[in-house]
Symmetry: C2
Subunit: 117 residues, 2 copies
DNA sequence: TGAGTACATTGATGAACGTCGATGCTCAGT
DNA sequence: ACTGAGCATCGACGTTCATCAATGTACTCA
């Protein structure tokens, strides 16, 4: 049988391993989880994620994010890119606006890895 | 001389705010949560935490952590300090050995902040 | 076509971080 | 007191990161 392994490369996701407290993390798994957590470990990105998450449809456009965050537009754009590449947000462009939407499952997966549940 | 049963300085904890997705994080709360997450966002620290968590009594001494991690002793010591200051571990010295123990509640609190639960 | 808006990318800079070797400190035996 | 073991701290070095101004790109409307 040919093992056609499915590479869903779009969103990394963190479905990598057993919960942190269950059994020692392998180096590779630790590195992947660290990358994901590093994307969260910034005040600006946490606030961006939080604002998007509590917006209508868990979605917001960049123009509505710049002022509340209080950083320059390029910086906000940079943070949104980091969050998107980490799999927490998706980007969809409508007209001249770019809308970012939350991927709730991403946060849940991270959450589950941190507990024994 | 004094028998040192070391009560580690009370840990910050992350009981700061509502779940991330419920309502926009304030700057102060975002900064505190970011500091906590930054402590987790490193492969070596994730592995250390994981090894300690899956050890007997969720406790391990430094000497048992150096080899599995594959880093120098000062570096391991540094990471353990970061995790301790972030409230994930406690330190107790017995003889010449330093034992680090998991604080399970710390991980749970972080976990809960990332979901709407 | 031309101008303006919304957003991304680039390049640069200063700060923070991970890592190590060297050293200091404390405890247990001898 | 001396020696060695276990661990923490210090100082230094290279890398990564957050941030911004300047610029580029894509779209809208007149």
């Amino acid at each position: 049988m040919v093992a056609t392994l499915e590479v869903t490369d779009v969103t990394p996701g963190v479905t990598c391993c057993a919960p942190l407290v269950k059994k020692p993390l392998e180096q590779t798994d630790a590195e992947r989880l660290a990358v994901t957590l590093k994307a969260l470990a910034d005040p600006a990105r946490l606030r961006l994620l939080s604002i998007v998450a509590s917006s209508a449809g868990q979605e917001a456009c960049v123009c509505d994010l710049i002022d509340p965050i209080g950083l320059s537009q390029p910086t906000v754009s940079h943070h949104l890119k980091v969050l998107t590449e980490a799999g927490f947000l998706t980007r969809s462009k409508r007209g001249t606006w770019a809308y970012y939407r939350l991927i709730p499952k991403a946060l849940e997966q991270v959450s589950e890895l941190l507990t024994s549940a």
